[in-house]
Amino acid sequence: MSGTITNLSRRAVLMGLGAGTFVLAGGLGPAARAEDSPKKYGGDAMPGGVKDDPRLFVAVAADGTVTILCHRAEMGQGVRTSWAMVIADEMDADWAKVRVDQAPGDEARYGNQNTDGSRSMRHHFQALRRIGAAARQMLAQAAASQWGVPVAEVTADHHSLMHAASGRRLGYGEVAAAAAALPVPAREALVFKDPAKFRYIGRADIGLVDGFDITTGRATYGIDVRRENMLYAVVARPPVHGGKLVHYEVDEALKVPGVVKVVVLNTAPLPSGFLPKGGLAVVAENTWAALKGREKLKITWDDGPNVRYDSAAYRAELEAAARAPGQVARNQGDVDTALKAAAKRVTAEYYIPHLAQAPMEPPAAVAQVTGDACEIWGSTQAPQTTRETVAKVLSIPAVKVTVHQTLVGGGFGRKSKPDYIAEAALLSRAMDGRPVKLTFTRTDDLHHGFLHTVSVERLEGGLDAKGKPVAWLHRTVAPAINATFAPGVKHEGASELGMGAVNTPWIVPNLRVENPEAESHTRIGWFRSVSNIPHAFAVQSFVAELAAAAGRDPKDFLLDLIGPGRQINPADMADGWNYNEDPVAYAYDTGRLRGVVERAAKEAGWGKPLPKGQGRGIAAHRSFASYAAAVVQVAVDAQGKLTIPRVDIAFDCGPVINPDRVRAQLEGAVIQGVSLATLGEISFKAGQVQQDNFDSYEVTRIEAAPKDIRVHLMPAAQYDAPLGGVGEPGVPPIAPALLNAIHAATGKRIRSLPIRDQLRA
């Protein structure tokens, strides 16, 4: 299995694998497979849609080598492996003869390539099966024609075709050329493999296609790309978002050996969207010289309107907003009357600061401008957005921008924004078309990010005399992602509110969700799990607080609040978004939420006695059309030192394609949840980020990671069932389960993140 990540342009597909030796990448006719439907959901609703033409994604060489093209960004979710597993399985290919290549960014050709929203498999599993089945049927037809027998008598058998009656057999490579000349079977004519006969799908022992390269240092990320005659650049950007260059002196910088040029980059007006922040770029013969040169710049900035952004003051603003009525996002019953009549009222405010994605590979890319064209080699989750943004800053057509997708050294949402790639493109043009590698230092990454929002979540609940919840009021206040892109945005969007604020399935007769205004003063963007993090943190903490007020076991109370298993149309919970999935096929299934709660509790030994100073907490959350519940077990010693001996996470994402990668994603999600809950904080003073590197923006290291993480995957009924997401939904329940466990262990309720030293005696 080759793991070298290369990019296959159309020309390479046609010519590069050995002219005339392979096939299923023959001439492409017009793509006519999109089905007409009034309202589109899922992958079909994405720009570019989903493509399932096998000629786009599969090539079979005469020697039998099957090359599968992956068009998703590989950023650790293992998609290059899982993607190939599905196609190879459906086409009955021998895994040992499969290699994976990487598609360049080309949405018109390959369909939507945005790798975010936990939707690679959710949107593509069935299309990948169709691709594999079509390829298999074309190969079978070619063999049938050669033998002069009906295709119905030909069976595919692990990289070869068999005619049982005559005992004849042909390898895939032997019929590849003939198969390439055949028409692609209609979707209705495809015959899928019996899932009982899957060789790879659902198997847990498939090695990563990039495993060898990664463990030997050969894997190439955006930051690793080298081009002939390449220059290296770093940028001094305005320290306050929206600030501009006023005055600068570059003489000292230019004296640094290796520094070639200092380039002025324009600052885009606010809201600046994906555009770069502008500033002064130092271009040099190597990164070290560029860094030294940048230190020698003397710059005066006009800080602009966000200079007063101060996290402590802003928190007070959010709290004030949360204590007054705001725009109603969902309303049922009469919350105010019910709260007044309640036997017991509970009020709590939760705070979670900004977070930075801080992928281990900071934003980096290489660009080369040639005339009115630009080539990009970079880590990006969004090749199409990259093309459009580069085209915009260079004033060239997007089709003139070629994006070669490298491995992505961690994304978590940061690399959905191509500001850094646009910088590289501008610098290559400024250097007369020499290739330029633009690197963010870690400090650049933390100071010039697209941060996870900051929020105050205020909850008020009412219990009747028997401890039954009768009223639920949730005010969520947070600057919105849309404020990064459009002026005057002060409310969370439908997608943000639909990430666990409005769409709670609680059995509570009176329920209202409000979204008071919040102004944005920095760039807000997607962070793995997005608004599910603050909403689940607050909602699932509050459920445990209500349980405590009712004198009930938190798990039993949570199950009662969820109620019996039923299918809820998300629109009935004021969620018209539902991750852009069909509200019927992807209804909110409370039975599945109950299922993960019960499974996590059972596996974790919920209710079994623990030593003094230890406790368990539980939390559950639906996001990205998947259901996750976690039981976190903590130990807090006399000095207030927190350790996490064990986490059980139960997960229901429907059909599981690559169980090993699903487990890996959940292991990572658990620890990233622990990290943001215990340590994560980006704060501002005078408009500037206060954290400079991993000493001040701390993240969980190995010694603080839970000692024992147990992942429990819920069995799926069948492979035709809708798939949920995997990359993100493991994160949201972790922080509240951890906080609930701390409460169980110590009696202390932490409502302000990060935990940091709040437990210290």
Partner: protein, 161 residues
Amino acid sequence: MITFTLNGQEQRFEGDPEMPLLWYLRDVQGLTGTKYGCGEALCGACTVHADGAPIRSCQTTLGDLAGMAVTTIEGLSPDGMHPVQVAWRELNVAQCGYCQAGQIMSAAALLKDTPHPSDEAIDDAMSGNICRCATYPRIRAAIKRAAGGAQRKTASSGSAK
């Protein structure tokens, strides 16, 4: 001029002795397996071996290296079959993979000095290496597996080494 060896090859460097080894490896030598992650020895992505000991190449200047032998991930084994690399692949440790070269170099150095490390020794040796994908549980498991593998290999070959 500074003389040292890099993956067994003698190097003579006549540039700025203050240049960090990291940028020399990546930009001058084109050995991009060693990663930049923080530039301040806080994350371990740039870990290489100097005379067998793990060092952060972002904080080690070429001047510091005079006469030393540097090994990078590219030179850890000729065929990628170091027991740590093998264990890493067998357990599918990597997610995005970016920090893994640094993790592997730290783990290999640990096992050289401590063939059968305790959990605490593993945490101590690996706490300088951040993984944002949080592959830590599998890193722990892979180090233990590599330790076992090294033991088996030694036993079967009869070598004392």
